[in-house]
């Protein structure tokens, strides 16, 4: 199947942002509520994928995903094809690359849930998991939304990792951002707009819609001054 660069980008960025938002919940929960020093270290490690130049990270992932490495071989057996140069590989790489952007805002939101609210749920008999599911997560929706947006936007614009791991295969792993780069450089700086414009429009639309929804939902932040 051949897909347009736009549809690949849409599929990749939507699924990355969504999966990441789900993964961010337990991860941020651990970072915020476990309380140990271990989780401070964990948080720093998480943020590290951020400081690696994308191309370097892409290379490291390539090494890890290669069918010649044990994990890569395992994945290749499971998937029926090697990870690199496939959409699955692209997705996995994007997940790793954008993880800190989704986790950071969620962790921050978790931190701002008032302790009294958590305590009240415990008093009523809720176990830690129920407190998390029914109180912490619903009260952190704004942070989860921020994380989703950052994860989404970051994946749309990703270049280095996607180029390395995906192999820029038209119709399979060639995203809009790779196409825009190609067009830009091959036309010696004159082209590129045909790829950039849909990228901009699509992203602008998605982000604007989300912002408006988020505003309408209003904040559930507890309001200590009673009206």
């Amino acid at each position: 199947m051949i897909h347009s660069a736009l549809s690949i980008t849409v599929a990749l960025s939507l699924s990355t942002a969504t999966i990441l938002s789900l993964m961010a919940l337990p991860l941020a929960g651990w970072i915020v509520f476990s309380g140990g020093r271990a989780s401070a270290v964990g948080e720093a490690i998480l943020t590290l994928t951020l400081v690696l130049p994308p191309a370097v990270l892409g290379y490291l992932l390539l090494v890890a995903f290669s069918p010649e490495s044990p994990p890569g071989a395992l994945m290749a057996r499971l998937l029926g094809h090697p990870l690199p140069f496939s959409f699955a590989g692209l997705l996995l790489a994007s997940l790793i690359y954008s993880l800190p952007f989704a986790v950071g805002p969620v962790a921050q939101s978790f931190r701002q849930v008032p302790k009294g609210t958590l305590e009240m749920a415990r008093i009523l008999g809720a176990g830690p998991l129920t407190v998390f599911r029914k109180v912490v997560v619903p009260l952190s929706l704004p942070g989860i939304a921020t994380g989703w947006i950052l994860g989404f936007a970051h994946t749309v614009g990703e270049f280095g990792v996607v180029m390395m791991v995906g192999g820029n295969i038209p119709g399979e792993t060639r995203t809009l951002s790779l196409k825009a780069y190609d067009d830009l450089l091959s036309a010696d700086g004159q082209g590129g707009w045909e790829a950039i414009l849909p990228l901009l429009l699509f992203s602008f639309g998605a982000l604007l819609a989300l912002n408006l929804v988020r505003r309408r939902e209003a904040s559930h932040a507890p309001d200590p001054t009673r009206g």
């Binding site: 008032p114 009294g116 609210t117 305590e119 009240m120 749920a121 415990r122 008093i123 009523l124 008999g125 809720a126 176990g127 129920t130 029914k134 109180v135 619903p138 009260l139 559930h220 932040a221 507890p222 309001d223 009673r226 009206g227």
Partner: protein
């Protein structure tokens, strides 16, 4: 010989978790009853409530309910909140801001059901709950137990409102009803009727007392209007402030000046 329903001998402390505060002893000899707690601001009433509930800060000493040690510092016993059959209405109780009144109550209700059934029924419960949500929690009929409570506390009109759209007194009533959705041996009520009008206070005082009798449960009840509580209380404990300092010495023989306390030796005991 039946064990004493409630006895506690505690050393409370607040600053930096170090025992430096006051000593409080209390005792209820009836199966079901109310012990009032009063005392000036900062005398440690809320701290006492929290220590009995198993919330921080931890106290030192002994708490024994129906002969079971909840806390026994010498033997290293200290049951956690979830192990103590208590329900608690902390001072400045909070409703969950993301749930309306009905959802707040249903949440507490479902938690108490889960507790009753034990862990095994978790899966079944979640499914039925999910179904209930699909069919629209907002309109489905309330469980009987909940409906009765809603009526007794007079909050039927508020079910559809969000916590942000309640008045101070309405919030308090809902939180009180919610606390009584949990079945407990000991109810810890920290100024439960604060911000409620006199008529409501009288009515709710009677309702709560009746509920406790029905459930054969005990309550510790912090109040700043001990006169209003005395008709239903089995005794009153008065905490006091040390001279000039804000540290509590909770061991005075007489209630502090300014309180008109019915000091019942019969069931609640207070002495140095």
């Amino acid at each position: 010989m039946r064990p004493i329903p409630l006895e506690a001998d505690l050393l409370l402390s607040r600053e930096r978790g170090l025992p430096s505060g006051g000593r409080v002893r209390l005792r209820l000899e009836k199966e079901s009853g109310i012990v009032g707690i009063c005392g000036p601001s900062g005398s440690g009433k809320s701290t006492l409530i929290r220590v009995l509930a198993g919330l921080p800060p931890r106290g030192t000493g002994v708490i024994r309910v129906d002969g079971v040690a909840w806390l026994d510092s010498d033997r290293g016993v200290d049951l956690s909140l979830s192990q103590r059959p208590v329900s608690c209405l902390p001072q400045g109780a909070v409703l969950f801001p993301h749930m309306n009144v009905r959802e707040n109550l249903l949440f507490a209700h479902s938690l108490s059901e889960k507790q009753g059934k034990g862990r095994g029924s978790l899966a079944r419960f979640s499914l039925s709950e999910a179904l209930r949500r699909w069919t629209g929690t907002r309109t489905s009929p309330l469980p009987d137990r909940l409906r009765t409570l809603v009526e007794r506390f007079g909050i039927g009109d508020l079910l559809g409102k969000g916590p942000g759209a309640l008045s101070g007194g309405q919030t308090m009533k809902v939180a009180l009803a919610r606390a009584f959705l949990k079945d407990a041996r000991l109810y810890l009520l920290d100024e439960p009727l604060t911000g409620i009008d006199p008529e409501g206070r009288t009515r709710l005082t009677r309702e709560v007392a009746a509920l406790l009798r029905e459930r054969c449960a005990m309550a510790l009840w912090v109040t700043h209007t001990p006169g209003e509580l005395s008709p239903v209380a089995d005794g009153m404990v008065a905490l006091s402030l040390d001279q000039g300092s804000m540290d509590r010495t909770l061991g005075e023989d007489r209630p502090p000046a300014g309180f008109d306390v019915p000091f019942g030796r019969k069931v609640a005991e207070w002495r140095r």
